[in-house]
C-alpha cells in the first residue's frame, strides 16, 4: 500500500493537458505542460484542429476568386494575405500596379496593423487578469474598425485589393477624417505605453518573464514583433520592401530585452510608427489610376512573395500552369514560425500561471497556421536534408533564377562577403 502514496521528498513530474477547448485562448490548440511542482519543465503542442483545406480549395477557383478565399485564411490580417497572394499573381502576369494603388495598399496594411496590435494588447492584458486594459483598448480599437468600415466598406475582410490594383480611393475628405481619428488614437496609445512601462502589477507579470536571447530566437526562426523584441533586425517592410514601402520607407522598431514586456513595448511602438507612416504618406500620396487590367489567364511559372503581417513574415508560393486557376498555392503564416520559441524555450522554467500570458505573447493565430503535411515514405525517395544543405539548395535555386552561377563558391564564402 505504501508504494502508492506520494513521496513528498522525491521530485514528481506531472503532465497538465490543456485544450483543445480551454480557458486561456479562444482558438483550439492542445498543450501538454510537464510540471515539477508549479514550474513547467517541458512543453509540447498539437495543432491542426481547424484545418480547412484552403490550399486545395484554391486550386479549383479562378485567380480572382482565390484572392477572396485567401483573405479569409485569417480574419485579423486579411489584407496581408490578399496582398501576398495577389503580388504573386501580378508578378506572374507581368503587371506593375500604379503607384497610387501601391501606397493605398501600404496604408491599408498599416491600418490593419493598428487594429491587430490593439486587439492583441487587449487579449494579452486579459490573459494576465488585467481586464480594465482589455476593455479600454478594445473600445479604442473600434475607432480603427470604423476607419476600415468607412473607407473600404467592411469591418473585417475589407477586400481592399482587386487583381491589378485597389478598389477604393482615399479622397482628401477621408484623409482629413483619418488624421483626426489617428490623433485621438495616438493619445490613447501613449497612455497604454505608460501603463505598460510604469504599472507595478503589470510589470510584475511581464518583466523577465518568457525571456529569450537573440541567438536562441534566431536559431528557432522567430519572426515579426516576437523576433524584434529580442533585437533581431527582421522586418520584410525594410528588408525586402513591397508595395508602397519601396516608395516611402518605414522604420523598424527594436527592443533588446527579449521578455514579455519587450513584446508589449515593441508592438505599441510599432503602432506609433504606423500612425507616423500613415500621416506622412497621406501628405504625398501619388496621383494616378487605381488599377490596371488583369488578364483572366496567367502564363505558367512560379512566384514567391513575403508580406510583413502584424504577426510577422507571411509567405506565399504560387504556381501557375497557364490556365484560369492557380496550380498550387502554399501559405506559411507567421504564427507557425513563432510556436517553436514557446514550446522549446520560453515556457521552460516559468510557473504554470504564467503560461496563458506567455502563449498570448507571440500573438498566436491558430486557424491561420493549420496546413496539411504529407510525409512521403522511404519507398518514394524521401530525402533528409540538413539545414546547411537546404540553405545551399536555396541559394543555388535563387542564383539560377537571377541568372548567375554560384556552384563554385561555398556558402561560407558567401556569408563572409555579406
Amino acid at each position: 500500500m505504501t508504494d502508492n502514496l506520494i513521496d513528498s521528498n522525491k521530485s514528481q513530474k506531472y503532465i497538465v493537458p490543456i485544450g483543445p477547448q480551454h480557458p486561456a485562448l479562444k482558438e483550439p490548440g492542445h498543450f501538454e505542460f510537464t510540471v515539477e511542482g508549479e514550474i513547467v519543465v517541458d512543453a509540447s503542442i498539437r495543432l491542426g484542429y481547424v484545418h480547412r483545406g484552403v490550399e486545395k480549395a484554391a486550386e479549383s477557383r479562378t485567380w480572382t476568386q482565390v484572392l477572396y478565399l485567401v483573405e479569409r485564411v485569417c480574419g485579423i490580417c486579411s489584407h496581408a494575405h490578399g496582398t501576398a497572394f495577389i503580388q504573386n499573381a501580378e508578378a506572374l502576369a507581368g503587371i506593375e500596379i500604379p503607384p497610387r494603388a501601391k501606397v493605398i495598399r501600404a496604408i491599408a496594411g498599416e491600418i490593419e496593423r493598428l487594429h491587430s496590435h490593439l486587439l492583441w494588447l487587449g487579449v494579452a492584458a486579459h490573459e494576465g487578469g488585467f481586464d480594465a486594459m482589455f476593455m479600454y483598448s478594445w473600445r479604442d480599437r473600434e475607432i480603427v474598425m470604423d476607419i476600415l468600415e468607412n473607407f473600404f466598406g467592411n469591418r473585417v475582410n475589407y477586400s481592399v485589393n482587386i487583381p491589378g490594383g485597389v478598389k477604393e480611393d482615399i479622397t482628401p475628405e477621408f484623409a482629413e477624417q483619418l488624421r483626426i481619428k489617428l490623433d485621438f488614437l495616438e493619445k490613447r496609445l501613449k497612455h497604454y505605453l505608460d501603463v505598460v512601462n510604469d504599472d507595478v502589477t503589470f510589470r510584475a507579470r511581464t518583466v523577465n518573464i518568457g525571456t529569450l536571447g537573440k541567438e536562441e530566437m534566431t536559431r528557432l526562426g522567430a519572426t515579426g514583433p516576437t523576433a524584434r523584441s529580442a533585437g533581431i533586425t527582421r522586418d520584410i517592410r525594410v528588408d525586402r520592401p513591397y508595395s508602397g514601402f519601396d516608395i516611402y520607407p518605414i522604420n523598424m522598431i527594436l527592443d533588446d530585452h527579449g521578455d514579455l514586456n519587450a513584446r508589449f513595448v515593441v508592438r505599441l511602438k510599432e503602432c506609433f510608427e504606423s500612425i507616423r507612416y500613415i500621416r506622412d504618406v497621406l501628405e504625398k500620396i501619388p496621383e494616378g489610376e487605381l488599377s490596371v487590367k488583369f488578364p483572366r489567364k496567367i502564363p505558367a511559372g512560379e512566384s514567391m512573395s513575403s508580406v510583413e503581417a502584424p504577426r510577422g513574415e507571411l509567405f506565399y508560393f504560387v504556381r501557375s500552369n497557364g490556365t484560369e486557376n492557380p496550380d498550387r498555392v502554399k501559405v506559411r503564416t507567421a504564427s507557425l514560425c513563432n510556436w517553436g520559441t514557446i514550446v522549446s524555450a520560453v515556457a521552460k522554467g516559468h510557473k504554470l500561471a504564467d503560461m496563458p500570458m506567455i502563449l498570448a505573447g507571440i500573438d498566436p493565430c491558430f486557424s491561420c497556421n493549420d496546413r496539411m503535411v504529407n510525409i512521403v515514405g522511404k519507398e518514394k525517395n524521401a530525402q533528409l536534408w540538413t539545414w546547411e544543405q537546404l540553405r545551399k539548395y536555396g541559394i543555388n535555386y535563387h542564383a539560377m533564377q537571377e541568372g548567375f552561377n554560384v556552384s563554385d563558391c561555398g556558402i561560407e564564402q558567401l556569408r563572409e562577403e555579406k
Binding site: 477572396y68 480594465a132 507595478v200
Partner: protein
C-alpha cells in the same frame, strides 16, 4: 513607478456616457461606402455574365429571357454573399451597385435571403420551374 495605471480611466469613465450605442432604440446609419445589399439595374444589363464568373461565393445567377428587350431575372442570395464588390468591378455596363441598405438583414427561413430582380411574371415562371424540378 506608478500604482494608478488604468484606475484613472476607470474613475473618469464613471462620469462619461457609455461607449456602446443603445442599438434598437438609436439605430446607427451605415457609412456611405458600406458594402451592403447588391442592387441590379436590368435596363443596363447585357447578360454578359461577367459578374457570375468571378463571384467568390457563386451566388449571382442571371437568367436571360430576352436579350434584345432587356428582360433578365437576376437571382442573388444575401446570406451567401461575401460583400467583396468584385461583381460591381467586373460589370462594364454599370448595372450592379453595392448599396448601404438592408445591413441589418435577418430572416427566419433560408428563402428569406433569396432576392429576385426582374419582371414579376418571369420570376413566377422561374420559381414554378424550380418547384417542378425533382429534388436530388
Amino acid at each position: 513607478m506608478k500604482l494608478i495605471g488604468m484606475i484613472q480611466d476607470v474613475l473618469s469613465s464613471m462620469f462619461k456616457k457609455t461607449a456602446t450605442i443603445s442599438y434598437p432604440l438609436k439605430p446607427s446609419p451605415p457609412p456611405e461606402r458600406y458594402h451592403g445589399r447588391l442592387d441590379y439595374n436590368a435596363a443596363k444589363c447585357t447578360g454578359c455574365m461577367m459578374c457570375t464568373r468571378d463571384c467568390p461565393a457563386e451566388t449571382i445567377q442571371i437568367k436571360v429571357i430576352d436579350r434584345k428587350t432587356k428582360q433578365f431575372v437576376m437571382t442573388y442570395n444575401i446570406g451567401e454573399c461575401v460583400y467583396c464588390k468584385q461583381c460591381v468591378f467586373n460589370c462594364k455596363f454599370d448595372a450592379l451597385h453595392m448599396t448601404n441598405l438592408m445591413w441589418e438583414s435577418a430572416s427566419d427561413s433560408k428563402e428569406g435571403f433569396q432576392l429576385y430582380f426582374g419582371k414579376k411574371e418571369h420570376i413566377d415562371s422561374l420559381l414554378k420551374q424550380k418547384n417542378e424540378e425533382p429534388t436530388a
